[in-house]
């Protein structure tokens, strides 16, 4: 029984909090974040002006993965729960969209495919899946937990591979993106971009609020010393499960968006290499830092996009970059910025 071990090495240890406990508004962001949001807002216009409309879709894809990786960040970076099965909730959200599309007009009313209905349902579906898996998996620790999350994820993967009504191994095309109404047409890449951006900002602000809140402080303390938190009087299982479900729900939303982005779902969205990819993006970016999900995802996807057109060995280059970042310090890209004095918020402090 361990009383003082830190969580699995992949998670960042909480740093001593700042001595100044002054209140910080959840809505006021540090300057770099404000600039990043502004730059992103202007991106579609800039891309169109430069004649590179294709990259609007690419940027949407990047943001969707940022959302998924950020949901994993809550688990790995803050709760110390290394999940190697997170793609299951990402993919399941996408499949909920597919299921609603197939059922609409027959078992369900046609408005079931509306974004207002389908996307919350995707979140709910992934949340329920996470609840079921977490209720079992969270009774284990460390390596066993990693293996069990992987195992459950593979079960869901094979379940969908076997589903002929959704195209089995080949996956299934969707007729179009979710209808939204209100003059918004997601078929237009620019509209879709802004909707994804709005949702991503909401998720990141929510994550920021959560890690500073009672819930976040408790969860991080559980990651630091679970048996002590139990002795202090917290029902630690409940908190870990809640974290697992929240992370699953957000991943489900990201999955619904990806299904829209590609107008396509496939079981391969769920397989373990996708779980591994999410984890790599997170570690590269810096688990336990709010911006960690952003840095790692952007770095990996941009590198992939830029390098793959120049060399078939782009994965080797990316691999070297990852190793370099890990060797420099074990807190990813965000950790490198932090060392130079500029904290990106979160990371165990307040």
């Amino acid at each position: 029984m361990d009383a003082t071990t830190s969580p699995v090495p992949l998670a960042a240890a909480p740093a001593a909090p700042a001595a100044d406990a002054a209140a910080q508004s959840a809505w006021r962001l540090p300057m770099p974040a404000m600039l990043a949001v502004l730059a992103t807002l202007l991106f579609p216009a800039a891309a169109t002006w430069a004649g590179q409309d294709f990259y609007i879709g690419f940027a949407s894809r990047v943001m969707i993965f940022v959302m998924a990786v950020s949901s994993l960040n809550l688990l790995v970076g803050y709760a110390g729960l290394v999940s190697l099965g997170h793609a299951a909730y990402f993919g399941f959200g996408a499949y909920v969209i597919a299921m609603l599309t197939v059922a609409a007009g027959k078992l369900l009313p046609s408005w079931a495919t509306s974004a207002w209905v389908a996307w919350p349902l995707a979140m709910l579906g992934s949340a329920l899946l996470a609840l079921l898996v977490g209720a079992v998996a969270l009774r284990t620790r460390q390596v066993y937990f990693i293996m069990i999350t992987l195992a459950f994820s593979q079960m869901v993967y094979f379940l969908f591979i076997g589903m002929a009504s959704f195209g089995s191994d080949n996956g299934m095309s969707l007729p179009g993106r979710s209808p939204v109404g209100l003059g918004v047409d997601l078929a237009k890449d620019t509209h879709f971009f802004y909707v994804v951006l709005a949702l991503l900002v909401a998720v990141l602000l929510g994550l920021r609020s959560l890690v500073r809140s009672r819930f976040g402080v408790i969860v991080q303390a559980i990651a630091a010393n679970e048996s002590r938190m139990s002795a202090i009087g917290f029902p630690v299982f409940r908190y870990k499960l809640a974290c697992f479900v929240i992370a699953g729900a957000v991943a489900g939303l990201a999955g619904a968006l990806l299904a829209n982005q590609n107008s396509y779902v496939s079981p391969h969205m769920l397989d373990w290499t996708k779980s591994g990819l999410l984890l790599v993006m997170l570690i590269l970016g810096g688990a336990g830092y709010l911006a960690g999900g952003i840095y790692g995802t952007v770095a990996l996807l941009v590198l992939e996009e830029v390098l793959s057109s120049h060399t078939p060995y782009w994965q080797a280059v990316v691999g070297v970059c990852i190793v370099a970042v890990v060797v420099v310090g074990n807190h990813g890209i965000a950790g490198m910025f932090d060392r130079s004095g500029q904290s990106s918020g979160g990371h165990g402090g307040h």
Binding site: A3, T4, A13, P14, A15, A16, P17, A19, A21, A23, Q24, A26, G206, S209, L210, R212, S213, R214, F215, G216, V217, I218, A221, A224, N225, S227, R228, M229, S230, A231, I232, G233, F234, P235, Y239, A242, G348, H350
Partner: protein, 251 residues
């Protein structure tokens, strides 16, 4: 005698064929300091684990102020007023003293499932934490990370963590472990002050401290309570001396 605050009846814990806790009876009065002494392996820590709720007994009962807590899981017992300090310091090394104690206060302060607003901004919580920190005399070190404290100071944070839950029953598991004479003196004075606030069950090997602090002492040998009496009676008991105190130097 008034109804005991803590009543343990015929408590049993088996490990394979070994009786770690052998039909133990214990009666502790309110605001009494009751010491548990005995040789290593006698089952003192096992008993404390059962009182705290981190170990389930095989049979017997534990009641606290008339309420049967035998089946309660640990977090419910904390809410019922039972708190425990650890034999091996188990504070949050990277967190400040305030952060450490605030966590203990949080456990008793309503729902932890709040997703906005920092607990460090909640004045009531911070005040409660500061109160516990002041009780152990660490006000000046509020923002120091626990790993930077001396061993004695860390043991005091241990106590503050237990006190922050406003316990009515305080289980102190070797609070003096590893302490030099100066630290020991301070800790003994602290425990004496705490008597006013709670009933205390104290497990200790430091006999000088035990005889100074305890109102009554129970002697545990091979899982069995062989004697329960006042310090003077225990000190002069031939049975106890033979079983335990005999070779020990009393300082």
């Amino acid at each position: 005698m008034n109804a005991p605050a803590l009543q343990v009846k015929q408590l049993v814990k088996r490990y394979g064929g070994v009786l770690a806790t052998d039909h133990v009876d214990l009666n502790v009065g309110a605001n009494e300091i009751h010491a548990l002494i005995g040789p290593n392996g006698a089952g003192k820590t096992t008993l404390v684990h059962q009182l705290a709720g981190s170990l389930a007994s095989d049979s017997g009962s534990i009641s606290f102020h008339g309420q049967d807590i035998s089946a309660m899981p640990m977090h419910r017992r904390v809410l019922a007023g039972v708190a425990r300090s650890h034999q091996v310091t188990s504070v949050f090394a990277n967190y400040s003293v305030l952060h450490n104690v605030l966590l203990a206060v949080l456990a008793r302060s309503g729902s932890g499932f709040r997703f906005s607003g920092s607990p460090f901004d909640e004045q009531a919580l911070v005040d409660d934490a500061r109160h516990a920190i002041a009780l152990v005399g660490l006000q000046a070190k509020e923002h120091v990370p626990a790993h930077a404290l001396s061993h004695g100071e860390q043991r005091r944070v241990e106590i503050a963590l237990a006190l922050a839950t406003r316990p009515k029953l305080l289980l102190l598991d070797e609070p003096l472990a590893g302490m030099g004479p100066a630290d020991t003196g301070e800790m003994v004075a602290l425990i004496e002050q705490l008597k006013v606030h709670a009933t205390i069950v104290l497990v200790e090997h430091d006999m000088g401290a035990v005889f100074r602090l305890a109102d009554r002492i129970s002697v545990l040998v091979y899982g069995k309570v062989i004697a329960t009496d006042t310090p003077d009676a225990i000190r002069s008991s031939a049975t106890v001396r033979q079983a335990y105190l005999g070779e020990e130097a009393v300082h």
